[in-house]
Symmetry: C2
Subunit: 140 residues, 2 copies
DNA sequence: CTCCAGTAGTTGCATTTGCAATTAAAAAGT
DNA sequence: ACTTTTTAATTGCAAATGCAACTACTGGAG
């Protein structure tokens, strides 16, 4: 039990390295692929929502999104009802990238859960979801 | 299932933020507390081993250790058999810090696994250990 | 209508990080 | 014994990150 969060830390760091290497030729570095996936899946998401979803600093999120915009994977739109908001949309290029991102994610999942039964995989997913929720709202 | 690694990423980032805030008054920032824990637990560990254990870049590890040395939590020793190696040891100050680090870890675990049964906690730990091992040795 | 508080987005600055290259020592090969 | 390769540690450089502060907009209160 005492090693769960250590495993989590290691897994996160290791998968980040793998993902960044994988997508570097596509000009997606430093976890940009993670952001792009979220924008494709959540059309119209704002930066504040994205930062909260990923639990990253808003300024980091802004700069990463800015890079995705520069690389033409993402565009900012205007919310006519609220000039403050800048909903993010994936471009055609961004959407075309998504299947490769999805495949990568599946590969990571397959490699990481190799040797686990289907029941264990489902249970792991469920328990991690609970932990994520707990940690997201933790009062310490 | 498809959300396991996303949960892992979020948990890792969120706990890092919490830990860094917690230990900032002790001059332990940017995950330094994680490194210190490992050095206390593994007297004589080398930087290369530490970097591998944590799956961080060797230069990042070196610089973080350097900071722990400056803060007098860690010292470098000499390996008389191999001049290349610089085994790391926790100082008295570092060892005195360890109980607080442990308590923090227990608090995070308690908060994160709140609502899980004892069996689920044990299972989560076991499964995450397997995933960590898989990912650490992944060939993609 | 004006003012204030809250929210979304953004910037400045110092520090950290990761990749690639380098240095030093040990191990392996000839 | 000497040379080459491997391993551990380290450095240089460019880019990313996080905290704190700031700007702009919206909604609510007076």
């Amino acid at each position: 039990m005492s090693n769960s969060f250590r495993s989590i830390g290691l897994i996160a760091r290791a998968t980040a390295v793998i993902g960044n290497q994988r997508f570097q030729p596509d000009q997606l570095q430093h976890n940009q692929f993670i952001y792009l996936m979220r924008v494709v899946e959540n059309p119209g998401i704002t930066q504040t929502e994205l930062a909260a979803q990923l639990h990253v600093d808003p300024s980091t999120c802004l700069r990463t999104v800015r890079k995705l915009i520069t690389s033409e994977y993402v565009t900012r739109t205007v919310d006519d009802q609220d000039k403050k908001r800048r909903p993010l949309m994936a471009t055609q290029k961004g959407q075309a990238m998504y299947p490769a991102l999805e495949r990568y994610e599946q590969q990571i999942i397959a490699a990481g859960t190799s040797g686990l039964s289907a029941g264990e995989k489902a249970l792991l997913s469920e328990l991690l979801g609970k932990v994520a929720n707990n940690i997201k709202h933790a009062k310490l």
